[in-house]
Amino acid sequence: MALLEVNNLNTHFFTRNGVIKAVDGISFSLEEGEILGIVGESGAGKSITGFSMLGLIDKPGKIVEGEIIFNGEDLVKKSEEELQKIRGNEIAMIFQDPQTSLNPVINIGHQLMETILYHNPSVSKKDAYNACIDILKLVGLPAADKRMKSYPHQLSGGMKQRVVIAMALLNNPKLLIADEPTTALDVTIQAQILYLMKKLSSNFNSSLILITHDIAVVSQLCDKIAVMYAGRIVEYGKKEDIIFNPQHPYTKGLIECLPKLDDDKERLYQIPGIMPSLLSLPKGCYFKDRCEYADGECDVYPPEQEINGRRIFCHKVK
């Protein structure tokens, strides 16, 4: 059985201007030790998908429908207290911006140790401290002893992200959700952090959901890829299939956008237009206004098709 199975998840935000369907009926699954990449533009609903897994949807948002079966239990049905035991323990999350993910007035040591102590009250402070030192060494933070007493402003962005990753790994979670873990970092550090995450998730045998807008990142790390557009998954399948043989016009466009070394084009490809506002989605296929293949058929939202183990929503793919 899969570690995580998400079925028809709907997370909506009830705003004054109308209902925003940030996540609109998505389904995917994840085996133990597998890495899933969720790719899409800003506002496609990737982060909200991640937060839905933890039940951390702030008002006016709400999971209105669907199931998140984790370890055989539906997280959507769980109470706040039950979820609190799972957060940071069985499912951990790494945030986008290390500059803002750590509390500026609490030292690193406390922020790390509380992750252990709230989940395992029987652990002594000394043991928790040692566990933190070990994990800081594991994520490659020099002078771990000294760092425990440091405050976030005394660390560089890359160091902070290592701390955040260490924090997520402390309780050896079964599932790790990384929301754009490298977007805010220098390019030189990005590769290190990605490699570190891949190494650690295989060391700990954790499954990983990697949320990113950077399809190049996913192509290095992931086993499976889900491409999201305006709150829905448009193409979902094995990495090799998606990267080397994209079928959905949107996925094709995303891959086309990447610069290639052996290519001497003057300009990079762009997908024309922008993603529609979630409050005024076009009738039919959400991508049709930007799609070069669109015609009258696309005025109806495309049905799900399953082609060679790949799920795709497009009338033009047969």
Binding site: Q84, P104, V105, I106
Partner: protein, 316 residues
């Protein structure tokens, strides 16, 4: 750190020197106290003699220079009216004012911060709306009005609280005797309502802003209980701006108890300064303002030190 403190002390001295000059000048220009001090039928000769005794016949600069020389010896001059050292008179009245200010501030903090937190967690609940309604009222109603309405209700109509004076004093304060506490209730309420509302609203705004931050969401994602997130992770961040405001407000409380003290005939420095300005009693006015500015300077220093405990980013 030593260098920092010395620097601060130098600045403080400069501030106080400037204040003394301004106040001295204004009081010099304000008029001749001698005419107020002597009976209306005093002879010209008596007036001239009186001026000479008080040194008021000299030019402004000579008077100011003499003042500075005396200050360097720790002498702020004698009151024209009471004939006693001005500083002694101010200090004698100080406990009554400090008592009002400290009790009001503590009350505002103890009630304001928790209510602010409560109203920030669920900003749309009925309880929050009630709290916000009363805080808006509190911040809008002028102090003299609150004071007089309290007197009307509790002294005139109900007759349960004394309308004036300080009551029985024990160990510099009336907070230790029943009679004293009865006298304290209304002045303290009058003073705290505005402060309480201000602190409450600042706490609420600060908390609402902090609770939206990524590090709060990450703490929740780590499985930290909500109570700990609110009362430790978030509150510690909110305290930073709050401490600044509480410091400034405390200085204002000490300096501007004038209205409250006048309404309740509270024998503090506020009442003293009003009387002294009317009598053109320059030494007391100057001494009072120097003491108040010293308190301001000291509070600012304490706030800076407190800062270093709450915010690791400003540690020297």
């Amino acid at each position: 750190m030593t260098k920092y403190i010395l620097n601060r002390l130098f600045h403080s001295a400069l501030v106080m020197f400037t204040i003394s000059f301004i106040v001295f000048f204004i009081m010099f220009k304000a008029g001749d106290p001698v005419e107020l001090m002597l009976p209306p039928d005093a002879t010209q000769q008596e007036v001239i003699e009186m001026r000479a005794t008080l040194g008021l016949d000299k030019s402004f600069l000579v008077q100011y220079q003499k003042f500075l020389v005396n200050v360097s010896k720790g002498n702020l001059g004698n009151s024209f009216i009471y004939g006693q050292p001005a500083l002694d008179i101010v200090f004698e009245r100080m406990p009554a004012t400090m008592e009002l200010a400290i009790i009001s501030m503590l009350l505002s903090i103890i009630i304001g911060i928790p209510l602010g937190i409560i109203s920030s967690i669920k900003p749309n609940s009925i309880l929050s709306r009630i709290i916000m309604f009363f805080s808006l009222t509190g911040i809008s109603v002028p102090v003299f009005w609150t004071g007089m309405i309290l007197v009307l209700i509790f002294s005139v109509i109900l007759g349960v609280l004394p309308s004036s004076g300080r009551g029985e004093v024990y160990l510099f304060t009336s907070a230790f005797t029943v009679d004293g506490i009865k006298h304290l209730i209304m002045p303290v309420l009058t003073l705290s309502i505005f402060q309480l509302a201000l602190i409450l609203r600042l706490t609420r705004t600060g908390m609402m802003e902090v609770l939206m931050q990524d590090y709060i969401k990450l703490a929740a994602a780590k499985g930290v209980p909500r109570k700990v997130i609110v009362y430790y992770h978030a509150l510690k961040n909110t305290l930073i701006p709050l401490i600044t405001v509480i410091g400034i407000q405390f200085g204002q409380l000490v300096a501007f108890t004038i209205v409250t003290e006048t309404i309740f005939a509270w024998p503090g420095t506020g009442k003293l300064i009003i009387d002294s300005i009317q009598n053109l009693d320059r030494p007391i006015v100057v001494a009072y303002l120097l003491v108040i500015s010293f308190i301001f300077v000291a509070i600012n220093f304490i706030v800076d030190v407190l800062y270093t405990f709450v915010d690791p980013r400003v540690r020297v």
